[in-house]
Symmetry: C2
Subunit: 378 residues, 2 copies
């Protein structure tokens, strides 16, 4: 391995001169610079960031923890994130908890040992809030609350709920099925526990539907990591719907008051993630239902599945670029604002600390994109 020493020898200058050239700091005479640069080129010198980082106490790397890249949502998120971090000269160290045997705690331990500058946490965690604060490095959470002092970035799921409710109400929907993650996610485990902001989408939607007198129910699937599990769940759902529907006119239009067995209107809208929506389109076709006439389908996320399902999906799109930008900005701020500053200036520092402790929450707007799986609104 050719080091600075070799360059210095070859160029006939001292070590620190080479360092100055490499770092473009301080003033070096043209002649010296030229000789050093030529020596570096001839020797194919590569500065060793390890050594530099050791001295600086920084690595320029951010650990990104997600459940799995196999789900298009996290793939899209990480894609946007990696690009954003790269803009800040930060590298992305990828950790997916469901793709490896390696558990979250082990990943965090590795990230700490490798002196990551920060951690972006986008996976589920059972750790209590104080675990995340005790790590001693900047942590920013995506779409979940990890504690009072940890910044969170998330989409405006409430807005998503309102947008979808509006669409469903205006299009005369009468019975909605929401398909989502395990019901346990809805438990409010009180302060300190992890909470899932995502459920607020369903909650808000549910409230709005209630207000409009639209019947709705919730069907729980397995964890987000199991894409095939969603496919199975949606398949079972349609088999069930199909049975109850067979009482009325099969495939009859929802407008034609095809009321089911016990006076319950047949399900005429399915709501869930992109994956759920894509599977729902497929199952609807398989059961001879017309989308959107018999059943409307609305996805959530805005991944590539929007264009790959049997019909262009109507979806609530999360703004991945904006989310990534906020996430990156938060982590960069935290990295540049060393937590361990010894309050050199009483008042000011205190104020700053309090501001940081206010557990900032960035809420990014979502938008409804109308595809071919919903009916036109009058």
């Amino acid at each position: 391995m050719v080091g600075m020493r070799d360059v210095a020898k070859k160029a006939g200058v001292s070590l620190s001169t080479v360092s100055l050239v490499v770092n473009a700091s301080g003033y070096v005479s043209q002649e010296m610079r030229r000789r050093v640069e030529q020596a570096m080129r001839e020797l194919d010198y590569i500065p060793n960031e390890l050594a530099r980082n050791l001295y600086r106490g920084r690595t320029g790397m951010i650990g990104v923890i997600v459940p799995t890249l196999r789900h298009p949502f996290f793939a899209t998120l990480v894609s946007a994130l990696q690009g954003r971090l790269a803009k800040h000269e930060l590298q992305t160290l990828l950790c997916s908890t469901a793709d490896a045997d390696t558990g979250e705690a082990e990943y965090v331990s590795r990230l700490r040992r490798h002196m990551m500058d920060g951690i972006i946490m986008a996976a589920h965690t059972d750790h209590p809030a104080n675990y995340w604060t005790s790590i001693g490095r900047p942590v920013v959470a995506f779409d979940r609350v990890l504690g009072d002092t940890i910044a969170t970035v998330r989409s405006d799921h409430e807005q998503g709920g309102r947008l979808v409710a509006e669409q469903l109400v205006k299009s005369g929907t009468r019975h909605v099925v929401m398909v989502g993650g395990p019901r346990s996610q809805f438990d409010d485990r009180g302060e300190g526990a992890t909470t899932f902001p995502t459920v607020r989408y369903f909650q808000t939607l549910g409230e709005r539907l209630d207000a409009a007198g639209i019947r709705h129910e919730y069907v729980a699937c397995g964890p987000v990591t199991d894409v095939e599990g969603y496919a199975r769940a949606v398949h079972l759902l349609f088999d069930r719907l199909s049975e109850s529907r067979s009482g009325g006119s099969a495939g009859g239009s929802a407008h034609d008051s095809g009321v089911g067995d016990a006076g319950i209107p047949p399900v005429d809208a399915i709501v869930g993630s992109d994956v759920v929506a894509a599977c729902a389109v497929k199952e609807a076709f398989a059961h001879g239902l017309n989308v959107p006439r018999d059943v409307q389908i609305i996805g959530y996320d805005g991944t590539c599945l929007v264009d790959c399902a049997g019909l262009t999906l109507t979806v609530v799109k999360q703004n991945f670029d904006a989310i990534a930008e906020r996430l990156a900005a938060r982590i960069v701020d935290a990295v540049n604002e060393p937590e361990g500053r010894e309050s050199k200036d009483g008042e000011d520092s205190k104020a700053g600390k309090e501001f940081k402790n206010a557990a900032a929450v960035d809420i990014v707007p979502v938008s409804l994109h109308v595809g071919d799986t919903t009916r036109q609104m009058a």
Copy 2:
């Protein structure tokens, strides 16, 4: 930052004793070990891998370069790869060339400076072979040839071509459209140039179709990074097919000899990646075509799109886990087999070198999974 020194002081032992305990190397008395471990716990000591790595000349990190994670194929690949590498205690440093402004050369430069133990290259590159060998670190290529001395892992695309040809022949297909990347990928730019093994799928398929007297044509899309581009291309394709078909009976069964304008049988099979296949199902529906009766559709890759398209796709599945396993094994081998060994043992070493220089190519089998987009074979 609490370091070994602090631990040593607190435990009342010397620095090297702490080191021995941390590394579980050498023998330390029970009492010493106990005291050191307690001190580590009380101080929440985290070994600094940076310092350790600086000494060892290793980082335990592998750079993984892909075009984009937005394409399910690469997302699935990286997912599998990250899990495999983690098993080997290797971390994954993610670099996606299309998701960031950062170019491939810049990424490689960063990877070198950060002393990556190795690089897994799965993106397109315009660099000549000697660029990749000159990096001075182990490089393993996925699905492309980067030069004579760089190991490659890829799927058996020829087998894929044969499997699909067999399916198409047996099901009485008469006119196949293959949708793939830019035609330039087919150019054989001779030794030293990057080649795309993927095209061998289409080539093999084409040869087999020729042999069976089945008409086929190739439609080129944009680069793999542009998922929406595929959607558009498939859309245009179906519009075109629809026009030519309108001469015969619209939506007529291919069995019914609906011969097109110039005696050309109408297209009754679309072949391409998962993304292409998913889009094709959607377009077929939109154009009132019955899949698989009027047109068969066969995907390639085996990503989550298989279950998310309008019908369960018939696809050739690449074995992502096996690919990841081979990729990881190759890189681990290369890392453990330092390239710079000074041929201490003439003959043996020479033989070893030659073996390594033989540019190993691991070819991983693929498999055809029959879904609902192809006709049953007699």
